[in-house]
Amino acid sequence: MTGGLFWERMRRRPAALVSLVVLVVIAVVSFTATLAGLVDPVAQDVTAVNQAPGAEHWFGTDVLGRDLFARLLMGVRISLTIAFFAGLLDVTLGVAWGLISGLARRRTDGVMQRFLEILGGIPTLVVLVLMLTVLEPGLVTIVLAMAVTGWIPMARLVRAQALRVREQEFALAARVLGSGRVRLALRHVVPNTLGLIIVQSMFTIPTAIFFEAFLSFIGLGMRPPTASLGTLLSSGFQTFTFLPFQMLVPAVTLSVIMIAFNLLADGLRDVFDPRGVVAR
């Protein structure tokens, strides 16, 4: 699909476009503000603990007197980083596995499929809890734990697409003319699957954000003083009944990001995948 056609189709999906803009703004603001040191998410001020939102602290302060706006920006940055790398690993592993499995000999494909079937039977929840119980929780471990089962849908999708493409006439012609499997994969299968890969990865990102928040909420997430959306939610929940803003701020932010990603993914699916091949 050309860029022009893409934007033309996107223009007819205002929800997806708005979501895209919202996400870009959130990402740019949170990354530049925290990385350029415009805000300080770890500075404690014992004279100003648990303050309500106001002029000095837009979103108030937490129990240690840290500015909640700064912590929120850091939280968004960490959560987006986790989601990005989790998505990247899913794409890399899934596409590689799917291509090899789909273009390999029947027996290799069969073995690879059985492996997927068994790994896919293990609930993500179980993998995450086990890995984070055993390993020290942190950005890298969370990303790795999510990747253990996260790439399976992508692998299935790419394999199915590879099987479809390899039987089509242009692919047969390429094989007759002497293209090897690698060339077939890179020249024909990947370009014809790119849209689906993008859509699928857009669905894995909100899943990753959700699981990060979930893990932090049950005490297996990032360690303080690092903030993520999950740790902010979970510490906000401790004081929820008398200082509701400490939870509402990360809760609303998390929800907005999740909704935006889902709307964007829906829009992209309509653009790239009008027949709805990507299953959720």
């Binding site: 086990l130 890995m131 039987e167 979930f214 909420f217 509701p244 939870m247 829906d266």
Partner: protein, 312 residues
């Protein structure tokens, strides 16, 4: 492939998967450094030796593994390190009730609500009713259940005081956790039913029904609902997964004495036998649910290709 062969093959894969889960769980948790006892400093060497003896921790790893797997097959899940040294099986058995009740109630509320929303959206396609439903569905599947749970607790429990905030002493205590858990299945069902029903309503037999004089609701009731609800069976697997995940935090928020709440507490205090047992229990439960759903679906709809792989 006949349905019998298919079922047997799936059963085989299921057993292998479960065995791998058990083995990996066992190895991971036994290779952990540290001691299972919180107050080891207060124990004499003799007491520690005695505890190791009683829990079988002094045996070689392969021996412990065989003992554990043997125990599992007899329904013995080991002894909890932290919770008054009860057998894990007893500990969990007392907690299954509330979890199952919440899960079923959430499905009973969520799925019919989702079907109703999805049907309305499909019949009133491209009206404000449709957009409202779609937006509700997107919000419902985007906002995590624990955020919904905390908000419900705050608004309905704390601010309005209509329902109890937390605890487990009667039906009123189940309402808020049920609602929090029901949001996701409702959103998924609504979205699914809308898509299916839009397709059914555009089909020839729906057209014929309209030609015979049925109104839009009559067609939806006689043709749409039945045709779009049967494929809904495929959603039960993913729903079970998300209910289980949600139950961990929702039970915690509302202090429900269920499996999820016990699991989170066990994680906090590193009670490995309980963590292992719940891990295995959850995996087994989900594997069985998905297996049953797949079989059911192939029975209901013979067009489903057995084996699930693309022909080549």
């Amino acid at each position: 492939m006949s349905i019998g062969t298919y079922a047997l093959r799936r059963l085989g894969v299921m057993v292998v998967t479960l065995w791998i889960i058990v083995t990996v769980t066992f190895l991971l948790l036994h290779l952990l450094p540290g001691s299972p006892f919180v107050d080891q400093k207060n124990l004499t060497d003799e007491q520690i030796a005695l505890l190791y003896e009683r829990l079988g921790l002094g045996e070689p790893l392969w021996r412990q593994y065989l003992d554990y797997v043997g125990g599992l097959l007899r329904g013995d899940l080991g002894i909890s390190f932290q919770f008054r040294n009860q057998p894990v099986a007893t500990l969990l058995a007392g907690r299954i009730g509330p979890s199952v009740q919440l899960g079923l109630q959430a499905l009973l509320v969520g799925i019919p609500a989702g079907i109703a929303l999805g049907s309305v959206a499909a019949v009133k396609r491209r009206t404000w009713l449709d957009s409202t439903t779609t937006i509700t569905a997107v919000i419902g599947r985007s906002v995590p259940s624990f955020v919904v749970a905390a908000l419900l607790q705050y608004v309905v429990g704390v601010q309005l005081g209509w329902l109890p905030i937390a605890g487990w002493r009667g039906f009123a205590y189940t309402i808020l956790p049920t609602l929090a858990l029901a949001v996701a299945p409702m959103a998924d069902a609504a979205r699914f039913v809308r898509t299916e029903m839009v397709e059914v309503l555009a089909s020839d037999h729906a057209e014929l029904a309209r030609a015979k004089g049925f109104g839009p609701w009559g067609v939806a009731r006689r043709h749409g609902v039945r045709n779009s609800v049967i494929p809904l069976v495929t959603l039960v697997g993913p729903m079970a997964v998300s209910l289980l995940t949600g139950s961990l935090v929702v039970e915690n928020i509302f202090a429900v004495p269920g499996i999820g709440e016990q699991f989170v507490r066990s994680i906090f205090v590193n009670d490995y036998p309980t963590i292992m047992a719940v891990t295995i229990l959850f995996s087994a439960l989900l594997l069985v649910v998905i297996f049953v759903v797949d079989l059911l679906y192939t029975l209901i709809d013979p067009r489903i290709r057995l084996g699930g792989s693309v022909e080549r």
